[in-house]
Structures are given as structure tokens and as C-alpha cells.
Assembly symmetry: C4
Homo-oligomer: 348 residues x 4
Amino acid sequence: MSSEISRRKDEHIALASSDAVAFRERTTLLEQVTLIHESLPELALEEIDLATELLGKTLRAPIVIASMTGGTERAGSINRELAAIAESRGYAIGLGSQRAMMRDPSMAPTYRVRDVAPNALLLGNLGVVQARDLATADIVRLIEDVGADALCVHMNPAQEVVQPGGDRDFRGGLETFARLAGELKIPVVAKETGCGVSARVATKLRDVGVKTVDVSGAGGTSWVAVETLRAQGAAKALGESFWDWGIPTAVSVAWVARSGLAPIATGGIKSGLDVARAIALGARAAGIARPVLQALQAGGRAGAEAFLDRVEAELRTAMLLCGAGTLDELRNAPRVIGPELASWLGTM
Amino acid sequence: MSSEISRRKDEHIALASSDAVAFRERTTLLEQVTLIHESLPELALEEIDLATELLGKTLRAPIVIASMTGGTERAGSINRELAAIAESRGYAIGLGSQRAMMRDPSMAPTYRVRDVAPNALLLGNLGVVQARDLATADIVRLIEDVGADALCVHMNPAQEVVQPGGDRDFRGGLETFARLAGELKIPVVAKETGCGVSARVATKLRDVGVKTVDVSGAGGTSWVAVETLRAQGAAKALGESFWDWGIPTAVSVAWVARSGLAPIATGGIKSGLDVARAIALGARAAGIARPVLQALQAGGRAGAEAFLDRVEAELRTAMLLCGAGTLDELRNAPRVIGPELASWLGTM
Amino acid sequence: MSSEISRRKDEHIALASSDAVAFRERTTLLEQVTLIHESLPELALEEIDLATELLGKTLRAPIVIASMTGGTERAGSINRELAAIAESRGYAIGLGSQRAMMRDPSMAPTYRVRDVAPNALLLGNLGVVQARDLATADIVRLIEDVGADALCVHMNPAQEVVQPGGDRDFRGGLETFARLAGELKIPVVAKETGCGVSARVATKLRDVGVKTVDVSGAGGTSWVAVETLRAQGAAKALGESFWDWGIPTAVSVAWVARSGLAPIATGGIKSGLDVARAIALGARAAGIARPVLQALQAGGRAGAEAFLDRVEAELRTAMLLCGAGTLDELRNAPRVIGPELASWLGTM
Amino acid sequence: MSSEISRRKDEHIALASSDAVAFRERTTLLEQVTLIHESLPELALEEIDLATELLGKTLRAPIVIASMTGGTERAGSINRELAAIAESRGYAIGLGSQRAMMRDPSMAPTYRVRDVAPNALLLGNLGVVQARDLATADIVRLIEDVGADALCVHMNPAQEVVQPGGDRDFRGGLETFARLAGELKIPVVAKETGCGVSARVATKLRDVGVKTVDVSGAGGTSWVAVETLRAQGAAKALGESFWDWGIPTAVSVAWVARSGLAPIATGGIKSGLDVARAIALGARAAGIARPVLQALQAGGRAGAEAFLDRVEAELRTAMLLCGAGTLDELRNAPRVIGPELASWLGTM
Ligand SMILES: Cc1cc2nc3c(=O)[nH]c(=O)nc-3n(C[C@H](O)[C@H](O)[C@H](O)COP(=O)(O)O)c2cc1C
Ligand SMILES: Cc1cc2nc3c(=O)[nH]c(=O)nc-3n(C[C@H](O)[C@H](O)[C@H](O)COP(=O)(O)O)c2cc1C
Ligand SMILES: Cc1cc2nc3c(=O)[nH]c(=O)nc-3n(C[C@H](O)[C@H](O)[C@H](O)COP(=O)(O)O)c2cc1C
Ligand SMILES: Cc1cc2nc3c(=O)[nH]c(=O)nc-3n(C[C@H](O)[C@H](O)[C@H](O)COP(=O)(O)O)c2cc1C
């Protein structure tokens, strides 16, 4: 890979991990979920069990380090650091889009993390538009190269459409999910990247055999924002208008759960309280992308681990104070829903 | 026309196109319509069809350059520029009130745009109070002089009543609509100018044979504001009190649609997202007055077209991201209605 | 009357007519009544009829200059100026509490206005606690001395209880209303002074024969505020806590109307739009106290009349723009009720 | 006791009584209870009866000086001053946690107040985790030593869990209540310390025989805040996240009352209006901790009494103005509930 492309890619990561790409007004609406204090928890803190089943493996804690990177030397070292963290802490870890390694096999090593994460739940990643245009056998090769346990197929039409030169033709997406759900030996995760999955889309996915959805909803990183900051002229103006487009994470989690699918709550998760609220709404696990990357960039592996320690401590504390010893109990814990979230959930 | 009257008329346009005449607190409530993201649109951007039937013609895009001007040299050139834009882009174009040309036939040329817009849907314009006092044959002459496809008959009692010397007697309005709907060969559009059309008025209009309503609701240009800025003393004080009087555009569109009439959503439309929201509420097309005039004044024809390009791009993007390939699909797209709009819509 | 007492009384009026005695946070909630624009009013402005029946007389416009003063030379001249205005404009006029003239007959002349207002609807005034302790015959004498058409019996426990030396025993109030409603030849108006009349009180009053209630609700002049500004120490602290105590005027009007009584909407009426909203909620007329006094003090009789001209012009305009030719039509006009008012009205 | 420990304990009191330990965003929601003005109270102020039965004694007024301190010389003198106030005014008085005197019998004198408060309702205090680990006989000794009429057993898992070295094992809490309710001769009060008691916890407590609950809800003193201000590093970060954790006092009072238990409304009570609102929601009495301590520290006994005079005057005034002559009447008085409180009360 030319150092020019590599430099551009690294700039892209730098931008996407800055606070400038956050949603502006729209929030996750997780802040409208109030868990109710239990004065008599009848639990010991150490007894609390964070374990969750996800995609055939057991996570020690319901945390997914969400799909981010690959394709440059820097990206490769990020992937290895995050994967080692996931391995040691019992999380899932997602790779960034494998499109780069598909186009240029010399990039494959920047995605390979199995040596440092032999047991972690490892998620491959590919855009649905790319997947549509590939034979299943080619996709299988990508999966096997990295040893993924499941494949995230991401849907990101909002980003594409504001990106100069981005995809403009989104036909055949559902058929692609149907094909992959039928033909791959590993599970397929339908994944957004910051705009959330609607009840309508969840139902369609369920009907073609998808079982797990990473909602990646509105309120955290806005990929329209990333493209807007890189665009000029009309594209920039269009991006400004759609900066905050998307379904809040809390809403999407609740909708996907109602459809009978297993939601991963990604998009704007910043704390263990957010994780707890998402689980209370039905999430199987919560995904975190930009905040983990920021912590890694600011403080190295120790910084990322300190951030994740805090997330776990908060989640555990919230569970204790709700009297929930397991995630299943948390899913049934009493809660109060604020008016804006209630009005979204009344719809559709 | 004396250059004195002409100067005053031009001043009027300058005032009416400035930001000083916007509503202050009341908004269109279109911002309370949230369209729901569709991750799997199953559409190609270029496939999206913006075409709409309106008043017997097909528009390429659901945009009406709303009735504004006529009666001075400057007004004439504005009309011709806007009409040429409408022609080239497949929009509808409205003329300003033809009262001036009725009183002074020498002004007629400032309304004539058919040479530059032979095919565009062209809307004549007359106040309902003037129309009441004219024989149908005289109105037919006004229509034929400009070659209009339909006649907007505007209702503006709020403006009149705060205007020193304005109309004070609004009897016979409905009867006028009944007569014109019965006797004219072209369709009649009942049009407000910034205060919106209520469900009660919509029903009355429907019952006398009107089929299309330009709601021109609250939240954009306030004609009470225009008159207030020109008034003195008691009239000014009265105008201040009614500056924000009117039914928000979103409300009026929904009410008119429920009555079984075809609404044109005018009043405070500033973006393609606004157009999309209005269509989702049932509008057949959206009308834009002041923002187009401002873009024209600031940047000439190229400026106006750049503004309209942006509106179309946003509309198209919003449709794609809702999975709506046509305006009819957009009308059925899922949406979340905010509390203030919901409370208006609960009421009749 | 000693000039000392007289000076104190005049200071009291000065204080009670200043903006310092307004409610702080609580409003009338009339601002939550949105009247709905009617584009086809089918009315001429001059045809609009503001007349209302009140207490056996016909007012030209539904305006009561509410009970304010008496008992000093300055008060006497205010009464005469306001009464002359009421006479010439067809309003009702209320006198201030006649307790002063009961105690000191030399003050009676400051309440006598029949020479300047031979036809105006004239309302006498007495506190319910004083009325309780007087024989009916003595009350008849007070009424006849001033030639009142009806007697306002005011209830003001909030003011009394924060006032050092104020009344502390409110027993026998309802019985007093029963007695006066039975024994007086003129109608009795049960009147608050700024805290509003509840549904429960309205029902009790109705059951003892009262037919008209001046709600004098929260949102305008706070009499607790007046006493707080005059108090020291513990009384001042108590007053601060109850400064905003009371039922908003809009709520009280709706409750009283529901009870089958005729409400006069007093308390925080500042404009003709407020009058229109109050009438839409069921008021027979609207009362204005402090704003009229302020206009009189600032601009003399001409100032007060200019203020009242504005109120009438706004009311008439609002009626026209609702398509209401009479107050009865206004009472049936469509309106949207905001959430805070709706939540009060859902309650008893 | 070493002067070192003593100094630390005194610092703790100083911190816990400062405004720095208040909740930040979350309020009691008592401000969402609007009592409705009654213009005809049919009461004399002096006739109003504030008496309430609590735990087998009659309080002259429904006020509990809530459990605070003990264990240092300064604490002992605070206890004696507050107890003397309670005795003279007919309130209940709570002692701080008796854990200190249990561990070090030389501290017992700082809890003994019966000589200055022979008749006041006196509440002992012990944490549920300590009580769990003690034989009933040992607890009886603690009670008898101070001559308590009832024992508050406090539940404070939120405080413990953010406190470095705090309790982490909360099993056996309910069983402890069951045991003490069965075996003690005096009543047991289940008491929170600032996070409120949920409907679920109330039901469990009721089912094991507890009859009275001090809700100590959110909106006043935050014990998580106290510990956060004393903590470092990860514990501090955790504390920041849970600073506002808890059920608002108004909500908890209503929930506990619905469960058929007698609630004491503690947590953020600042005024007599707050007391009145809490009683209207079903509280038997209201508890005040930090505000009483602050008044005592700022102004000595006279300062505390002036504060309590104000609370009583406001309560009495509120009752008069609601037409409630007794606390039972106040519990049935009409009120309007704001939207946020209504949404909590709709839940669970
Ligand atoms: C630097 C960066 C790179 C990302 N790259 C991908 C990607 O390649 N594929 C993908 O599905 N999502 C990608 N995402 C989206 C994240 O997986 C996630 O859905 C989104 O950022 C929302 O989570 P957050 O708010 O925690 O950042 C990326 C996000 C970031 C911040
Ligand atoms: C400069 C100007 C002139 C207008 N003249 C007319 C007119 O003659 N007849 C009419 O029906 N409406 C007239 N309107 C009202 C517009 O058609 C439209 O109803 C109103 O401005 C609301 O749209 P907006 O918020 O996009 O400006 C005029 C508006 C403007 C800004
Ligand atoms: C200066 C002043 C004197 C008043 N005196 C009386 C009075 O003697 N008797 C009475 O019933 N109300 C009295 N009121 C109360 C008014 O009649 C009215 O109920 C109250 O002020 C609310 O109306 P507003 O908001 O328009 O001032 C007085 C009000 C003012 C401002
Ligand atoms: C200085 C201080 C010490 C306290 N100590 C105790 C205690 O020992 N036991 C207990 O049950 N609650 C204790 N509390 C909690 C109070 O009893 C009360 O539940 C809480 O402070 C909420 O009330 P407030 O908002 O009026 O302060 C203490 C509170 C304060 C301010």
C-alpha cells in the first residue's frame, strides 16, 4: 500500500475518533431509562454475574469492542491491542471492514489477531453492498483468513450517500442477508454504523434468517459527520442537514428486541450505566467503538483498560443497586421511561 | 404607474423578503416530524422518483415557487426569472396577486411569463375579497391574459385586518369559492398567505367543490409582521399582538389531508427535509416563497438554483434513507410525531 | 380620617399597582389556549358584537373594571374616573371594599359614582369575613348608599393569613353566602382576589344559590405579594413561600363554568387576546384591575382609554380571525389546549 | 476514642451537613405536587390540628428530626440539643447509627438523650448489615441503653458500594427485618438514607411484618455524594456516576403508601409546603436531617427553632388554604400532579 493511501487512512481514523464527529442534538435516549433503586438487593457484589451468551460463545461481560479498523500498520497494531484486551477480559472484538484486505491481500496481516486472541469472540466485517457483489466463497475466504466466529455485515446508507463517490445503489441488500444467513457456516450479524435499525428492517432481517443485530444507533459517533467534515460544497451542506439523522440507540434496541432478534446495543455507549440501561431494554450485549479507541489513543492499553474497568464497575454497581444478580434479572428490572423515549416506543 | 407607487411596491418586496418578517416563536412544527431511518432501502438513488401530479400537470419534483409578485418592473423580472427556473426544473410557479394588473392593465406585462415558461404549471392569483367583487368573466380575462393553469384565490384576513386601510369585510368568501369552482374551466386553489387553513375551513371548501388547498401556514413569513413593520400607533400595537397568529404548517397540512383535499405545504419550508416531512404528512407538493426570493436576490438565478438543488438533494436523500422510492411511499413511511404536534393533531 | 391613615392607604394603592406585586413563576395559563385561525370568517369587522349579559344588565363589551379602591380622596377620584370610563364604554365597574365606609361613614363619598355612571353595571364590594359579622340590613344600607347593581363578596384567605393582624378565622363563609343569596334583592358575586376559585368551592357556592363567580385567579396581581412587601421577619418569610399560591385564572374559569356558574375571568388579563381566550373557556366577561389602574396612573383617563381601546381592538380582531361574530360563537370556537393547562383540567 | 478518630468523625459531619452533598439534577419531585387553593376554608387557623400518630405515640406536629449522629463529643451535644427541641415541640427524634457505641461502649453517653427528652418519640438506629450480624439480644441492649421507642434499621447499599471499604454483601437483609419485626418488642422502621424505597421493596417489607418505612428518597442529601467527596481515583469516578441515583422522595412516599405501609417522608424536605405535599401523597410524617443540622450549626438552638417555626407556620398555612383542618383531611385534599411525577407514578 502506498504511504499516501496509508496516510489518508490514518487521518480518517484520527478524524473518526475525535469528539468533532459526535451527534449534535440527538441523543441515544438511554438517559431516559431510569433504573429503580432496590434498598434490599439480597446480593453480594462479587456474586454478580456479568456473563452473557453471544453468537455461540460465552462472554465474561456483555461488552463488544465494536468494529473499527484494519488496513494500515497503525490500524493493525490497534486491532492487536484491542483483541488482546478482549481476550484477557472475556469480551467480543470486532474487526474493521475487510474490504481493504479483499482488494489488497497484502493488508490481511493488519486484521489477523487470533494469535493474541485465541478464544475471544471475533467478528469479521464487510459492507452489505460489497457482500452483495461478492460470491459466498470469497466471503468465506475472508472469514477464514482471520478466523472470525461471526460476520458483521454493515449497512451504512446514510454515510455512503453523503460521501462523494460513496455507494448510491442499495438494491439487493436483503437478498444478500438471506444468502449469507443460508450459506455461511458462522452466524451473520446485521450491523448499522450509527443510524440505528428500525422495527421494519428488523422484521425483514428476521424473516430471512438473521438472528443478531448490532443496532449502532444515533447518539454516539455520526458517520455522516465524519464524511461532512471531509466534504466540500454541496456534499458538505447535505451532510450538515443529515448530521443527526438516525434512530436513537435506546429506541432501536427496544424495537429489535420486540422483533424477537438479539440486539447488540452499540452507538453512544459511554458508561456502565448506559450498558445497564441498554440491557434493561433487551440488549444481549453493548458495543463500544470510539470511546475505547479514544482511551487507547490517550493512554495506551492501560488507558483502555482503565476505561473498561470503569464501565464494568458501573455496570456491576447498577446491577447490585437494582437487585439484579444476572443480566436476565436486569432485563426484567423495574424502570421508568422518560416521555421522549416513550413517544418513540409508542410508535411503529 | 407613477414611479412613486412603483418605488413603494419595490420597498414592500424588499421588506417582505427580509428576515425581519419571520414568525418569532411559533414554528411550522415540521421539526416535530421525525422520519425513520431505513438501513436497507433496496433503492438506487437515481431511481428515486420525485414526480407528482398537481392540478392536472406532472411536476418533475414536488416544488411550487409560491405566489409572490407582479406590478413593477423589478417584479416583472423576478417573475420571469422564477418562471424560467420552474420551466427548466419541472416545478410549478405562482404569480403574485393580479389585482394590480386588473386595476391598471399597463402592468399586465409584468405578470406574463408564458414565453419563458411554456410548459410549467402556472398559477394565477387573486384575493378572495377582490374575486368576490368581480364578475367571473373579468376573472377569466385575468387568467387568460397570463395563460394560467389554475387560479390561487388567496385568503388573508389577518394581514388585512392589521393593515391600515385593509379589507374589513370578509363576507361572501365561501360563496365566491363556490362560484369560481363551478364556473371557471381551470381548477381553483384556496390559498392562505401565512396563517394556515383549519380543518373547519377545509371542510367548507371541500363542500363547495374546491379540491386543492395551499395551506401557507404559520412558521415562515408572517404577513401580519410585514404590515406591523409598516404601521404606526394602534395598528402597530395590534400587529405586534398577532405577529405569530396562525396554524403551524405541519398541522394545517395534516388537517387538510384528512379532509380529503390535496394540500400544498407552503409556509416556512426551508429545506428538502422540510419538504419530505410535509409530504409524509400528506402534502402533494411544497411551496416556497421567501427563501427562493432571498436566494435570487442574493445570488441571481444561479443562487436560486443552487438553493433549489440543495432542496432536491435533501429530499432525495431523505427518501432514500426512508426506503421511499416515490412520494406515495414517503406518504406511508413510518415517522415519530413530537408532543406539541401530536397535541394539535389530537384536536380538530 | 386622619391624614396619617390616608397616607398609608395611598401608599398601599401605590404598592398594589406596581409590577413588584405580580406573580413570579405561576401564570394564568391563558397562554396555553390557542385559538384557531379561520381563513374564511364570513364576517365584517364592524358587525362583530361584543355585547354580553351580566348580572341583569347588558354590557357593550365583556369587560369589568375590577374592584379596587375607595376610602381616601385619591381613591375617590380614581373611582370616579374609572366609573365614567365604564359608563361611556358600556363596561361594568367594581368598587373597592366598602369596609372603610362602613367603619367611617365620612368616607362614603369616595365610593359614590352614580352621578358619573348612572347606567353602568356597578358592583359593590365587601369581604366575606366582614359580611359574616354584619346584619343583612347593614349590608343593604352599604349597597343602597352607592346604588350598586350587585355585590361582590370577596374571599381572600391567602392574603389575610400572611398579613400581620389579618383575619385568621374563616368559619361561616359559606353560610354567609347562603344568607346573602337568600336575603339580598341584588345578585351576589363570589369573588376571589388573586388565588382563584376551585371546582369544590364553585360547587358549594352553587348549592347555596350563588350564580356568578369572579375567579380572580393566579397569574396577575398577587395579594400575598402585596402583604409580603409590607411585612417583616417571619411574616415576610411566610409570604415569600406563598407568593405564587393559587389556581391559574384559565383553570378556574373552566372549572367554574363546568360547575354551571357564570365565571368572570379576572386575574392577569393583560390584552384582548387574553379576554378572547377566557371567553373561549367559558367566561361571561373578563375583569381587569391593576393594568387599568397602571394605565390611569401613567396616562390619566386618556391613557386608560387607550389601553382599553387596545384590549377591545384585539378582542374584536381575535373574534374575526376565529370566525366568531358573537361571544357565544367564541365560546364554541375550536382551540388547542397546551399540556400544562390540559393536565390541570384533567384534574378536579 | 482516640482524638484522631474523633476528629475524622467530626469532619464527616461537617461534610455531610454542607450544601456540597446535595443531589445535583434529581429532585424530590415534591415540587410537582400542587395543592389546590380553597377560598372558603371554613376553618380558623388556631383550630388546625397538626397532630399525628406515629409508632404508638402522638406527635404534636408531623415532624421527625431524622437520624444523624452520635459517637463524638460534638455529636453528643448535637443529639442533646435536637432531642431537647423534639421534646419541647412534640416531634420525633432519631439517633445516628449506634454501631459506634456497639463497638466502643464508652461512646454510649453521646447517644443518651432521655434525660432531656423523657417523652419524645425516640428512634434508635442501626444498619441492616450490622443488624444481620448481631444477635437480637445485642440489639435489644442497644435499644434499652438509649431508651428508644422504635428502631430505625437503615438500608444504604448505594453509599456502601461507592465507599472504599464499605459493605459489599447485602444478603440476608430481608430476613433480618423479618427476625427483628418478630422478636423485638418495639416497632422496626425500615429506613433508607437518600435513595428511596421502591414499591417492590415496600411489598417485601410488608410481607415480613414491617409497618413503617422512612423513605429517605432522592432530592436532598446524597450519601453517595458524601463518599464521593471523600474518595479518590476509581471510587471517586464511580461515585460521580451514581451521585444522583435514587427514587425521588415524592415517588417513594406514594409507592410506600400504596403498599399499605406508613411512610415517613424524609429526603429533601426543606419547607412546610414540602411537608404538606408529602402528607398529601400519604406520608404520616416528614423527616428532616441536613437542614435542621445546618440551622443548628448556623444559629444554635434558636436558629434550629426558628427554622422549625417556619416549617410549622407554612404547613399550617398550607392546610388552612386547602381547607384541611387535620392531616387526614390534607391526605384527601385535591391536588394536581405534574407530568414527571405522574410518569413515575404510572409505573410499577
Ligand atoms: C474509527 C472508527 C472506525 C469504524 N469502522 C467501522 C467499520 O469498518 N465497520 C463497521 O461496521 N463499523 C465501523 N465503525 C462504526 C462502529 O462500529 C460503531 O457502529 C459506531 O461507531 C457507533 O459506536 P460508538 O458511538 O461507540 O462509536 C467505526 C467506528 C469508528 C469510531
Ligand atoms: C414577497 C412576497 C410576496 C407575496 N405575495 C403574495 C401574493 O401576492 N399572493 C399570495 O397569495 N401570496 C403572496 N405571498 C405569500 C406566499 O405565497 C406564501 O404563502 C407565504 O410567504 C409563506 O411562504 P414562505 O414562508 O415560504 O414565505 C407573498 C410572499 C412574499 C414573501
Ligand atoms: C390596587 C388594587 C386594589 C384592590 N382592592 C380590592 C378590593 O378592595 N376588593 C376586592 O375584591 N379586590 C380588590 N383587588 C383585587 C382585584 O379586584 C383583582 O381581583 C386582582 O387584582 C386580580 O386582577 P389583576 O391581575 O387584573 O390585578 C384589588 C386589586 C388592586 C390592584
Ligand atoms: C450528618 C448526617 C448524618 C446522618 N447519619 C445517619 C445515620 O447514622 N443513620 C441513618 O439512618 N441516616 C443518617 N443520615 C441520613 C438522614 O437520616 C436522612 O435519611 C437523609 O439525610 C435525607 O434527609 P435530608 O435530605 O433531610 O438530609 C444522616 C444524614 C446526615 C445529614
